[in-house]
Amino acid sequence: MTTATKAPGISVRGVGKSYSGVSVLRDVDLGIAPGEVHGLVGENGAGKSTLLKILGGVVRADHGTLTFDGEQVTFARPRDAIAQGVSLISQEGALVPALTVLENVFLGRWTQTAGVRRAAHDRKRFDELIELTGFQVDPRSRVDLLPTGVQQQVEILRSLARGARVLAMDEPTAVLSEHEKDNLIALIRRLADGGTTILLVSHFLDEVLGVADRITVLRDGALVATEDAATQTPRSLVRQMVGREIDMLYSTPDPVPDDAPTVLSARGLRRGPVQGVDLDVRAGEILGLGGLVGSGRSETLRLLFGADHATAGTVQVDGATLTRLSPRRAMAAGIAFVPESRKEQGLVMARSVSENVALSSLPRRRTGPVVRRTAERTAVDTVSRLVDIRAAAKDAPIETLSGGNQQKALFAKWLLCSPRILLVDEPTRGVDIAAKSHIHHLITELARDGMAVVCVSSEIDELLALSHRVLVLRHGRPVGEFPRGTAKEVVIAAAFGDEGEPT
C-alpha cells in the first residue's frame, strides 16, 4: 500500500548552505542506499538539521546537487520533496492542533466526493496504517489534547499516508518516554525492512548505534566520515564529533552533609495530573523526579515555582509556608526555575543574549528606573563565562545560538538571581554532548556549593547519575524513592507500576 514504490538511492554531492554569510554546511557528499537506516550525528550546530531540511525541501541549498536514483532533483519547497517521497518529521512538529488525528493524518488529501469528505474511506486507510505501525491512536482525538509522544506518532502516520519512501527524522526520541522510544526504534527497524529509507538525526548515540546501518558524522558543517554502524562505538563517534577525546562520564555529586538543613518541602501538592506530591530537599542535595511522560513531573515543578496555582497543598522554604505562591514570590524566596521548553517558556527568542540573561534580575542593576548598562554587561559577561556560553556576540538575537548555548543562557539568567533552590526541567533536552556534560557539571557544582536542586528528566540514566535520590511519580503520586546506584530497571519498573514491564 503505502510503500508500493521502491525507495530511491539518494546521492548528495557538494551541498553547502550559509545563513547571512555564515556557512552551516560545507561541501557535504553523502550516499544513502534504498531501505537503509542512516544515522546522522554531530554536535549542535554541526549542520545535521540543515542537511535534513535541505532533503525535505524546507531549506534550499546554496550549491551542490541532489540525485534520486541517478536523476537530479531540485527541491524548491516541501511539496517538491514530498512528491519524491521524502517526508520530514521535525523537532517542532507540524500538526494542525484543532483537528482530529484522522484529519491530520490525511491533511489536505482527504478522500472527497464533490468537496464532501468521506471520512469512512479515510478511516479504512487509517486502520491499515495502524496495523502497519502498531500504534495505538484514537483517530477521533483532537491532536492538541494528545501527549507529545502520540503527536509524533500522528506525524509518522501522516508521512506514511503520503506514501513516504524516505523518512527524515530530527531528534524523534527527544520528547519520548523510555517505553515510547523502544516502540519507535522497533518501528524504524520494521519500516526499513519493508524498504523505507530512514534518515535519523539523534543525540542519543546508543540509539543510533542500535538501529542504524550506517552512520555519518558531521562537525562544523563538514562531513567527517560515513561508516558502518557495526564498526563504531559511542566513544569513537564522540571522538569524530568533537574532534578530540571527551570524558563521557557523568559528573558525580558530592554526598550531602549530614547537618544540611531541609530547604524546600512540599506537602500534598495537587492540581490536574498532580495528585498529592510530598517532597523534601536539603541544601546541597539533588533530587531527581522521574516517571513516564504525563506522570506529573513537570507539573510538580511548575507548582513548586508558582507557575500554576496548586488547588491544594503547601510549599515551604526554610520551614516557612509560601502563601499565594507566584513566580515573583517564589523568586523572592530564592527559587529559580529552568523550564522544559526554551522556546515556549524560557527565552525571548528575538531579543539579545544579554537581555535574556539579564531579564530575571533586572531590579538588581538599576538607577531609579534606568538600567545600568555597564553593570549589566559585567554581570552578563561574568556569568556567561561561568556557564561557558559560546556566542559570537552578546547583542545577537538568542535564537541564533545553538540549543546547548541557549540552555546555558537559561542557567546564566537564573544564576544572576543568586537562588538557593534550583528547579530544572529536562536540563539537557536537545543539547549536544559537550554542552550536556557541561550542564551536568554545573548542576553538581551548584549543589556542592549548597544549592538545593530538583531535577526532572526523561532520561533515566541522567537522573540516576546526577541525583542523590530519585523520586518516581506515577499518575501524579510518588510511588518510590531510590538512592544513587539503583539499577535502571528497578526505577523503570516503578515508573510503569503494575501496568506491565518495559520491553
Binding site: S23, A307, V348, M349, A350, L386
Partner: protein
C-alpha cells in the same frame, strides 16, 4: 554567587561558527534596521528636487505640525504593540479626553482643562488595560468593543453637539498652535518632548526591557517574575496619555471638541507603527520607528499637495506603502534566518 569553580570544560576560544562572512550578516542587519530611514530620506530628496516649495521654512513647520497628531498616536500604538497588545481605543480616547478637557475648562481655566484632558486619557487607558488584562479576551477584540463604548460616551456627554471653551478662554485655548522655539508650533515642541521621553522610557529603563520581554514571549516573561498584566496596563496608560495630548492638539486647532474627532485614526497609528518596522507580533521595534512611520505618511500627503497631484489617489498610495513596508520587512527577516 558561589559557583566560581564551575568551569569544567575547555576555555571558550572556539566560536560556534567560523568568522567568515560575519560582515555580510552585519550589513544585512543594517539594511533591515534602517531601511525605513533610507526610504524617508529618498522621499525627502525627491520632493526637494521636484518642487520649490518643499524645502521652505513654512512648509517644514507646517509638515511637522501636521505630523504631531498621528505621531503621538503612533508612539502610543508602538508601546502597546511592542508589549504584544493592540489599542484600538486610541482615537475614541482622544475624543473623550478632549471633550472632558473642554468641559472642565469651562468650569475652571485653560491650564486645568488641559491637565484634566491628560488625566482623562490616563484614566481611560487604565480602564482599557484593566478590561484587556482582566477579561483575558484578545486585545484586538477587547479594545474594539471598548472603543465603541468610549465613542458612545463621547456622544452622550456632548449630546452630539460641538463643545467650545468659554469666550474668554478661546484665545488661550489655541495655545498649541502658537509659534515657539525655532518658529515651530507649540504642538510640535510638545510632540518632540513626549516622543523623546517615551523613547527613553522604552530603550533605557527596566520597564522598557519588560515591555520587550512581555511582547516577545509572554510565558517566558511571566516565569522570569515579570507582572505581565501590569506591563500591559502601563502600556495602555501611556497610549491613553498620548491620545489625550493628540486630542488637545486637534481641539486647540479647531477651537472646539466633538464626539467624531479623529475617527479611524487608531488604524492610521497602527499603520504608522508597522511601516516604521515594528513587528505586529510584538517584542520587536522601537518608538522612533513609529514616529518615522507617521512622518512618512504625513510626507506623502504633503507631497501630493505640493506636486499638485489629485489627492484622491493618496489613500491608494498609502495602502501600497503599508503593504510594501511589511513585505520588505518579512523578506529581509526570512533572508537573515
Amino acid at each position: 554567587m558561589t559557583v566560581d569553580a564551575a568551569t569544567p570544560a575547555e576555555p571558550s576560544t572556539q566560536s560556534p561558527h567560523p568568522a567568515t562572512g560575519s560582515t555580510g550578516s552585519r550589513r544585512a542587519i543594517r539594511i533591515r534596521d534602517y531601511g525605513i530611514l533610507v526610504a524617508l530620506i529618498a522621499i525627502v530628496i525627491a520632493l526637494s528636487v521636484s518642487t520649490d516649495t518643499f524645502l521652505t521654512r513654512s512648509n517644514l513647520i507646517n509638515l511637522l505640525d501636521q505630523c504631531t497628531v498621528v505621531g503621538l498616536l503612533a508612539a502610543g500604538a508602538t508601546v502597546c504593540i511592542l508589549s504584544g497588545v493592540f489599542d484600538l481605543t486610541s482615537s475614541a480616547t482622544l475624543a473623550v479626553s478632549a471633550i472632558v478637557g473642554v468641559e472642565i475648562m469651562r468650569l475652571t481655566n485653560v491650564p486645568v482643562g488641559f491637565g484634566a484632558a491628560v488625566a482623562a486619557g490616563a484614566v481611560l487607558g487604565f480602564v482599557t488595560g484593566m478590561i484587556v488584562v482582566r477579561s483575558g479576551i484578545n486585545s484586538f477584540i477587547a479594545t474594539l468593543a471598548t472603543s465603541i463604548i468610549y465613542r458612545g460616551v463621547a456622544v452622550v456627554v456632548t449630546a452630539g453637539a460641538i463643545v467650545y471653551p468659554l469666550e474668554t478662554q478661546t484665545e488661550n485655548f489655541g495655545a498649541l498652535t502658537w509659534p515657539s522655539v525655532f518658529g515651530l508650533t507649540s504642538a510640535t515642541v510638545m510632540f518632540v518632548a513626549v516622543v523623546v521621553a517615551i523613547g527613553l522610557l522604552i530603550s533605557t529603563t527596566t520597564f522598557g526591557r519588560r515591555v520587550y520581554a512581555v511582547g516577545g514571549n509572554l510565558e517566558a516573561a511571566r516565569l522570569s517574575g515579570i507582572r505581565v498584566g501590569s506591563v500591559h496596563v502601563a502600556a495602555y496608560v501611556i497610549s491613553g496619555v498620548c491620545s489625550a495630548l493628540a486630542g488637545l492638539i486637534l481641539a486647540s486647532r479647531a477651537g472646539s471638541g466633538q464626539s467624531t474627532m479623529a475617527t479611524g485614526a487608531e488604524l492610521t497609528a497602527i499603520a504608522a507603527a508597522v511601516i516604521g518596522g515594528t513587528s505586529i507580533l510584538g517584542g520587536e521595534g522601537a518608538i522612533w520607528r513609529g514616529v518615522v512611520g507617521a512622518f512618512l505618511l504625513t510626507l506623502i500627503g504633503n507631497g501630493f499637495n505640493l506636486l499638485g497631484w489629485d489627492t484622491i489617489y493618496q489613500q491608494v498610495l498609502q495602502g501600497c506603502l503599508i503593504l510594501f513596508a511589511v513585505t520588505t520587512d518579512r523578506w529581509l527577516r526570512r533572508r537573515s534566518r
